[in-house]
Symmetry: C2
């Protein structure tokens, strides 16, 4: 017998929605500035990589590579997660080492294999050399005597990111429109709940609410990445990862922290087996995949259109390919 | 009918225990250094406040004041939580704004109403002026060319804190010793689970695993503190706080982020009413209180005994009462 609606939806409360309005602190000026910073490659050592290089906003916030290319083509060690709906996550990064979007953004800017800025001074010198940025930082942070700092840069980027939500048909369904899902998608949702996927993939982002071990029930062969252990140094956290959101998962392959799984049906089979100890019958796999595709949302096309970036000046530090 | 043991204990898995051994990265040298730093008031602007001032290790990691006294007697705005068992928390601070003990420790050192150091330079200058610290940092961080930095200071403190666990009779019970709890304590545990306290107070620290709204069911009058909202800027997070551990709760009054509740039985009644919408009968309150007291652990007396601190030298920056 199918589960009743109330029970089905329990795991997804509070119902996710695009925020009605930005938090008061995220002024329009901050958001507009954050958008520019997100797209500006001059925030990288060689002026060739922006946040958008690895988190392409028109490709659902990812680059669809197993591992991204950073400064001088260097590869990182983890798959780039999407920036859409990340604001709702309990912590940022696969290991949760940043408690907020603001803290997160410091990572890539100064990471030698990502944007590779040497220090705060280089960041501030670059932005302060451009009069248009000077003006915009003053408007976005009117109370500050020194408005261009590492902290204000990350606050503006975070303000922009907080509105990166992707309402989907599943949200219409959660809000009571029973016809928003097809019969197969609805069956997939029931399987998703009944089988236990919602133990881990729950809440507004259908994920992002806890840290869980990859290979909880049936061990995963060779997990090279210590995951959450890196942050807590607690053996119990070895190979735990912040559960990813499944919103837009159809579009964010390859999968896992390692980017090592390409196909969504295969990913569903592996989850059922390793996280829940079940061999999921093929028709159920197909239903669950259909349900997961109903989580693909509408991109906020206007919000994410690339802004015009102000020109460098003679004072702007030069690209540094070293 | 009493719940069976398996069901009773589900919420507390994985069974908490004092770590068998420190993480390999937490070398003996790091732990010993972290202990010294935890007790050293020269890490404060006026050389009068150490971590131990607010987190007295011989008083269960707290100061038992509603709000602590920091630099120049200034009061902060939140109650000092215990440092015991904090390593297991999903995030640090009442609002979870630090993702790790390392990130947490940066807070008080530079907070103007706590230890009030002006910047990294003052921290490094102080420690580098003392030959014994120079030697100990070199031993604790043998790979580093500059072993005294903000990052190594917080790594050493975190290494020390990770071993601050307090095994209690409840752990003996969890490990199968049915006689470790009295009949009343066991009844209290059953009520604690049956009534729903474990929805929020669960896991190794009996708390610390999620953020929850104070006044979830019945609104709490006047919550002045925005809590988790400060970190996420998400209205859904208004007045949410990281659920505190209940280990040693008998000893860590006053209660709540505000330190505004003094008595444990009253706190239990308030929780039942505001978090669960129930008027808990007095005999049940007494049983739950009895159970909570079984969570009081043994302090690691030798581990926490105050170390001898090396003397200042003429190069050590002077106390600054300003
Ligand atoms: C060179 C590729 C690259 C660049 C450039 C980059 N990122 Fe990332 N991003 C990643 C990777 C890889 C991760 C995951 C790393 C990890 O978990 O350790 C990540 C994680 C994140 C997350 C966490 C999402 C989650 O669900 O945990 C956010 C948010 C984010 N990046 C935003 C940004 C912003 C903002 C910028 C620019 C300031 C940026 N990224 C630049 C590759 C990149
Ligand atoms: C016990 C926890 C747990 C359960 C149960 C669970 N998952 Fe996961 N899931 C995770 C974790 C943790 C990851 C990320 C692991 C990693 O990156 O190494 C993940 C990753 C995924 C991914 C890849 C997402 C991405 O962007 O990389 C998909 C798809 C997925 N799960 C679907 C499911 C489905 C469908 C089920 C039920 C059949 C399920 N999960 C059950 C914890 C769980
Ligand atoms: C003047 C008082 C004071 C001093 C000094 C102080 N703390 Fe705290 N500590 C607090 C308060 C108050 C909080 C909670 C603040 C909040 O949540 O915003 C806190 C929170 C913490 C937490 C988080 C615990 C949890 O469960 O979230 C840890 C760990 C901690 N302090 C360790 C330290 C260390 C290490 C030092 C020294 C470097 C230190 N504290 C110095 C008052 C103090
Ligand atoms: C829905 C979540 C939730 C439930 C259910 C819940 N609590 Fe709490 N509890 C919290 C939160 C959140 C706090 C901290 C709130 C704050 O500081 O403002 C807290 C604080 C406490 C404290 C004070 C601890 C301290 O150190 O300040 C005690 C004691 C406590 N709870 C016991 C209980 C008991 C007993 C029950 C069941 C009758 C219960 N709680 C049910 C979320 C919950
Ligand atoms: Ca970094
Ligand atoms: Ca991916
Ligand atoms: Ca207290
Ligand atoms: Mg910093």
């Amino acid at each position: 017998t199918p589960l009743d609606s109330a029970k089905l939806l329990l795991a997804f409360k509070p119902a996710p929605k695009a925020k009605a309005a930005p938090a008061p602190v995220d002024s329009e000026a901050r958001i507009a500035l954050g958008r520019m910073l997100f797209f500006d490659p001059r925030l990288s050592k060689n002026h060739d990589i922006s946040c958008n290089s690895c988190h392409g906003l028109d490709t659902f916030g990812v680059d669809n590579k197993p591992l991204s290319d950073g400064h001088r083509g260097q590869k990182g060690t983890r798959n780039s997660p999407t920036v859409y709906n990340a604001a709702g996550h309990i912590a940022q990064f696969w290991d949760g080492r940043a408690a907020s979007l603001e803290a997160q953004a410091e990572g890539p800017l100064f990471n030698p294999v990502e944007m590779a800025l040497p220090d705060d001074r280089r960041l501030v010198a670059t932005l302060a050399s451009i009069p248009e940025y000077q003006k915009r930082f003053r408007q976005a942070f009117p109370g500050e005597t020194q408005p261009i700092t590492r902290a204000t840069v990350t606050q503006a980027i975070a303000a922009f990111e907080r509105q990166l939500t992707t309402p989907s048909r599943f949200d219409a369904f959660l809000e009571g429109d029973a016809g928003a899902l097809t019969a197969q998608e609805r069956r997939g949702l029931e399987t998703f709940v009944a089988v236990g996927c919602t133990t881990c993939h729950n809440g507004g982002a259908v994920g992002g609410t806890s840290f869980q071990k990859l290979g909880l029930i049936e061990p995963w062969p060779h997990v090279a990445d210590a995951g959450r252990f890196e942050v807590t140094k607690d053996e119990e956290d070895l190979n735990k990862f912040r559960v990813p959101t499944l919103r837009n998962v159809e579009k964010t392959a390859p999968y896992l922290h390692s980017g090592s799984v390409q196909a969504l049906p295969e990913m569903v089979r592996l989850m059922a087996r390793h996280q829940l100890g079940q061999a999921l019958p093929e028709p159920d796999v197909e239903d669950v995949v259909a349900f997961l595709k109903s989580l693909t949302g509408a991109l906020p096309q206007q919000y994410i259109s690339a802004p015009e970036l102000p020109k460098s000046t003679p004072r702007t530090p030069k690209p540094d390919p070293s």
